[in-house]
């Protein structure tokens, strides 16, 4: 059964980019067709999105100074500076700059 369409932005994550590189290699070696690579990436979009929603329970809280924010094309962007992040298990991280890109969890059509 065909589900809803998914965002493609996880393709730019390290694992997504590495998958794309691996698919390119398979195409160059003529082991798969580009269409199959596209299907694999579409699956990757779906699986990543679904698993992040259903399985990932890690949470992080943070404090910092909100430097910039915008809402454009249904995408929120926040740039936060001098951030103190608190991860699970009380682990603390300090970072100079931190960017949050947030999209509607229900994409149009979903």
């Amino acid at each position: 059964m065909n589900g809803p369409s998914y965002y493609e932005f996880y393709r730019r994550s390290t694992v997504g980019a590495t998958l794309a590189d691996a698919l390119d290699t398979l195409i160059v070696d003529q082991r798969i067709q580009p269409q199959l690579a596209m299907k694999v990436l579409a699956n990757f979009d779906r699986v990543t999105s679904d698993h992040l929603r259903s399985d990932v329970r890690a949470k992080m809280t943070f404090k910092g100074h909100l430097s910039t924010y915008r809402f454009c094309d249904d995408v929120w962007t926040f740039v936060i500076k001098d951030v103190n992040m608190k991860l699970d298990d009380n682990e603390v991280l300090d970072v100079g700059k931190f960017k949050i890109v947030a999209c509607n969890s229900k994409k149009s059509g979903e």
């Binding site: 059964m1 809803p4 980019a17 698919l23 160059v28 949470k59 149009s108």
Partner: protein, 1025 residues
């Protein structure tokens, strides 16, 4: 190719354990055959053969034939052919796999051919034909539902390729005429349930998508939803519940008022209770029910919130609260409290984020608003009580039903997550009802501890839960949010001697149990989250000593060392000025850490020493400060010397050597801890603004007047750890971990704005770097990872020196404080670090990356110093070679890309630097050499690395556009001549690329141009990344 050969190839393709090359060859040949003009005839012939694989390949061949000859074939004729094939397959009772593939082909052709509402759709034709030949009724029903589902799925796949008008025709021609007829003629029953639900689900998805994407009028599926709701009610059917949940998840607006009303009535009725009873032992089904309740309620949260004052809704809220308070332990015995938690979090958040909208729904009627607030407070009080109970630690060890260790771990993990979500709910509830929630939790601790006799397990669990939730609330409190009531509650809590009593529980309880451990851990976490209490008021300050005593007592226990030391560090860092009176105590504690070789983790030791340094930093008397630091450094030095002596005596004993190694590591870490603690606490600009005179005093003392010569003592320690042979020990350092700490130590000083006890002057560090380089050159370095890592640290250290010196000069200008002008000895350092260790560096990707990052760093700060280096051409050529040689090494490419972008843009460069780089690139032909290697690397690199090549190409386009065209053409002439990948790049493609690239003048549009050129020359497709 004859039929027999084709059949043989298909059998090869599908037979297991075949050689990969054989399969690839068969696949290629078959793909070629499928694309032929007469492939439709072959498809028909294959379908007539008995083997299922061959038949399926026949059906597949129709798909390929249709896709390849779409513009040549008559679609109506092709539909007739497919209809005949399907009817024939049905008559011959072929497998469903083949019939479904043929139906999918039929749907594909229909989608392409459907332009007219008046024509009969092929599904209709098929079903009518089957009726006319009296096809078996049960099979007919199944086929009708399956084919409807397949048509909806094909439509969803092709949704973006179909225009809005065509979607309208499909809805009218197919859905209204045929699909509705099927769904109405064969209504949902126990026999056809799965097929029917699948069919409706597929159409619901398609209709939802086109409604969103094409703004088509809503298609009313409510009559079918009503059937499902009734089916679910009558049969307690979980599949129906799943579909209703899915609709609520995707598009709750598909339900009309009547259906919503019916769902609302049954959810808050005996039906739910019966369902729960029926599924008593089926957690999965119960979880599905609670998920649905959550989705159902989430779809109209604001309205529900406004109905709190409506008496007719009282039973619903009571029902929900009762369901949340379901009997038993969460996760182990029940899941309602877990599943409904998401709903409650969202619901309570409405009262913070959307309160204005809720008031609007109440028409801003003051009386109603007051009633809403009062009633919601009551409900939330009840809710907090329920989740406070559910938040109690479970007994993970005595769960007899789950003996498996993995299962237990899984339950524990789930519970920890659940607990964390409860704390999120409490944070929201706290925002709504601040004083009450805080007071309830502190009171609960005080009351449970007030008993004189031994505490029961339940009381311990109560205290632990309240501390856990109080910690969570405290973590979100800021200075502005502190109310006098909180301070009062905290005062009462501390007055109740809760810390002493908790320690007593731990000490009295001989049988250590998990609840005690959780209790102590959460008490420590709580103490490290209430800086707001210690920092800004006198009441809190009064209790800091008591808190620190408690934390130090727990430091003796291995289970709590880590948490306690973190808490101590946090308190001494933020309250350093309030605990100056504890300096001597901390000094003793820190010394004990060194002398007694206290059995603590390295990090714990370092934290305690850093805590001492935090307090030491506040001392106004520099001489006293320096004296204390000097004593401490001497202590570290003497203990280290003793440890080094023991190494010599125990060379054969690996266990003792390991222990000493660990001790030495903790000593050098202690030095870093001391240096970190004595750093200025604030941003240097703020500090200077607030204390300009103090800064001058600091400068004068540490620059000129330090009697105890702390800098020298530090360097002596560093040299001891780097070159013990110079201290008459018969060995030299080779421990990368020591070296890492040495770098961390230097880093503490190099990131300081003003001179201080641990700020070592840059020229001394440069001397140290040169000494290390000389040492590296003397020893055989190959295959010695420890030393590779150390070289890396040295390169990084020089980069830090460059940055620090650059920042010092800026600070000097702002503050008018005269910093020393030093010689960065760049030429010598480059020679020692790079050229003299060239062979070693070039075999290690990390070192290549580090060295080019260093060059890039120098170019961004002191371009002239590097450009005037007599070996600059050599350096640049080496970097250019790496662009091709290491085109797949992402981090090398990143560093070189940064170097070249800095060189080309030369943002800090003066006119003479710009002239120099122009001369290098143009007259010395380095530009041509760069572009040749850049293009060669570019066409061979991975997709994920293109962006770094793009950066250099954009920089060249922006600054050297006049020469770039020629450089690119010549580069590709050479690349084509070399024919490196047996691939010739067409001259017209190159010309078009250059033309498009130059038009962009290196702006953002160039990204797409360069990317598309990469797609073209590599034959790759755009994945839309």
């Amino acid at each position: 190719m004859d039929l027999q050969t084709t059949v043989s190839l298909i059998e090869t393709l599908y037979s297991p354990n075949q050689d990969y090359q054989v399969i690839l060859q068969a696949q290629k040949q078959l793909q070629f055959i499928q694309k032929q003009q007469n492939a439709n005839i072959l498809a028909h012939e294959l379908l007539q053969l008995p083997s299922q694989n061959i038949q399926f390949f026949g059906a597949l061949t129709y798909t390929v034939y249709f896709t390849n000859h779409l513009n040549e074939i008559n679609l109506n004729d092709f539909i007739s052919i497919l209809l005949d094939e399907i009817i024939d397959s049905l008559k011959r009772n072929l497998s469903n796999l083949i019939i479904n593939k043929l139906l999918s082909n039929l749907a594909k052709v229909y989608i392409k051919s459907c332009n007219n509402d008046n024509e009969n759709n092929p599904l209709d034709l098929l079903l009518k034909h089957l009726q006319s030949i009296n096809y078996n009724e049960n099979l007919f029903i199944n086929l009708s539902l399956i084919s409807s589902k397949i048509f909806a799925e094909e439509l969803s796949i092709s949704i973006d390729l179909i225009k809005k008008e065509q979607h309208e025709i499909i809805l009218s021609n197919l859905f209204n005429k045929t699909i509705q007829n099927i769904l109405n003629s064969f209504p949902l029953s126990l026999i056809n349930k799965n097929l029917w639900l699948d069919c409706l689900q597929s159409w619901m998805l398609y209709i939802t998508k086109i409604e969103f994407d094409y703004s088509l009028n809503k298609i009313d599926l409510n009559s079918y939803f009503n059937l499902i709701i009734n089916f679910m009610i009558n049969y307690n059917d979980i599949d129906s519940l799943n579909l209703i949940s899915e609709v609520y998840d995707l598009n709750p607006s598909l339900f009309n008022y009547n259906n919503k009303f019916q769902l609302d009535s049954i959810l808050f009725s005996n039906w739910t209770i019966n369902f729960i009873k029926l599924n008593e032992n089926n957690f999965e089904n119960l979880s599905k029910l609670s998920r649905f309740i959550t989705l159902f309620l989430n779809s109209d949260l604001l309205n529900l919130a406004s109905k709190i004052i409506d008496k007719s809704f009282d039973y619903k809220f009571e029902f929900l609260l009762n369901l949340t308070n379901f009997n038993g332990n969460p996760i182990i015995d029940e899941t309602f409290s877990v599943d409904l938690l998401d709903f409650w979090i969202l619901f309570t958040e409405c009262f913070i984020n959307d309160i204005d909208n809720i008031y609007l729904l109440l028409k801003n009627d003051n009386n109603k608003i007051i009633e809403l607030n009062e009633k919601s407070q009551d409900y939330f009080e009840n809710l907090s009580q329920i989740y406070w109970e559910k938040c109690h630690i479970l007994d993970f060890n005595n769960n007899s039903d789950n003996d498996d260790a993995d299962d237990l771990q899984d339950i524990e993990d789930q519970f920890i997550n659940f607990r964390r979500d409860i704390s999120e709910l409490f944070e929201t509830l706290f925002s709504i009802s601040r004083i009450k929630i805080f007071n309830n939790l502190t009171n609960s601790i005080i009351n449970n501890l007030s008993t004189t006799t031994n505490l029961s397990i339940n009381q311990i669990k109560n205290i632990e839960t309240s501390l856990y939730l109080l910690t969570s609330i405290s973590s979100i409190l800021t200075e502005n949010g502190i109310l006098p009531e909180f301070l009062n509650d905290m005062n009462l809590l501390f007055k109740s001697k809760f810390l002493e009593k908790i320690l007593l529980i731990e000490n009295n309880n001989n049988n250590e149990n998990q609840y005690n451990k959780y209790l102590i851990k959460n008490s420590i976490k709580f103490l490290s989250e209430i800086n707001w209490f210690y920092e800004n008021n006198e009441i809190g300050k009064f209790y800091i000593n008591e808190v620190l005593i408690y934390l130090f007592q727990n430091l003796n226990n291995n289970n709590y060392q880590d948490l306690s030391s973190k808490a101590i560090l946090m308190i001494t860092d933020s309250c350093r000025y309030k605990i100056i009176n504890l300096l001597d105590d901390f000094e003793n504690a820190a010394k004990l850490m060194i002398i007694n070789k206290f059995n603590v983790e390295i990090n714990v030791r370092s934290r305690i020493i850093r805590s001492y340094a935090n307090i030491l930093q506040t001392i106004e008397n520099f001489e006293l400060q320096s004296n204390k630091i000097s004593n401490f450094l001497n202590l570290i030095y003497n203990e280290s010397i003793n440890a080094f002596k023991i190494i010599e005596l125990n060379k054969g004993n690996s266990i003792i050597l390991q222990d000493i190694n660990n001790f030495l590591y903790s000593m050098i870490s202690s030095l870093v801890g001391l240096a970190k603690g004595l750093k200025l606490p604030n941003d240097w600009e703020d500090y200077y603004e607030e204390n300009p005179n103090k800064v001058k005093e600091i400068y004068n003392y540490w620059r000129f007047n330090d009697k105890f010569k702390i800098n020298e003592l530090c360097l002596k320690l560093i040299l001891l750890y780097s070159f013990p042979n110079e201290f008459n020990f018969n060995f030299n350092f080779k421990n990368k971990f020591f070296f890492e700490q040495i770098l961390n130590f230097f880093k503490c000083g190099l990131t300081e704005a003003f001179p201080g006890p641990f700020v070592i002057k840059e020229d001394l560090i440069i001397e140290y770097i040169l000494k290390c380089c000389k040492y590296f050159q003397q020893i055989n370095i190959k295959n010695n990872n420890e030393l590779f890592s150390s070289i890396n640290k040295i390169i990084e250290l020089y980069g830090l020196v460059i940055n620090s010196y650059h920042i010092s000069m800026t600070i000097s200008k702002i503050t008018n404080i005269q910093f020393d002008i030093i010689d960065l000895k760049m030429d010598i350092i480059i020679n020692e670090i790079f050229f003299k260790q060239f062979n070693e560096i070039m075999i290690d990707p990390d070192l290549i990356q580090s060295i080019f990052t260093l060059f890039s760093n120098i170019i961004s700060k002191y371009p002239n110093d590097l450009l005037k280096n007599k070996e600059i051409i050599k350096i640049l050529k080496i970097s250019i070679d790496q662009i091709f040689i290491n085109n797949q090494q992402r981090f090398i490419i990143i560093s070189i890309s940064k170097l070249w972008c800095n060189l080309i843009y030369l943002r800090k460069g003066k006119i003479e630097d710009i002239k120099k780089i122009n001369e290098i690139l143009i007259n010395k032909e380095i530009g041509q050499y760069l572009v040749y290697n850049l293009m060669k690397g570019f066409i061979n690199t991975s997709r994920s690395n293109i962006e770094f090549f793009i950066d250099i190409i954009r920089a060249l386009t922006s600054k050297f556009s006049k020469y770039l065209s020629n450089w690119i053409i010549k580069s590709f002439e050479k690349i084509n001549f070399e024919n490196f990948n047996n691939k010739i790049i067409k001259i017209e493609d190159i010309n078009l690329f250059i033309k498009q690239l130059l038009l962009t003048r290196g702006n953002r549009a160039a990204n797409k141009v360069i990317q598309e050129f990469w797609f073209k020359i590599t034959g790759m497709i755009d994945y839309g990344m």
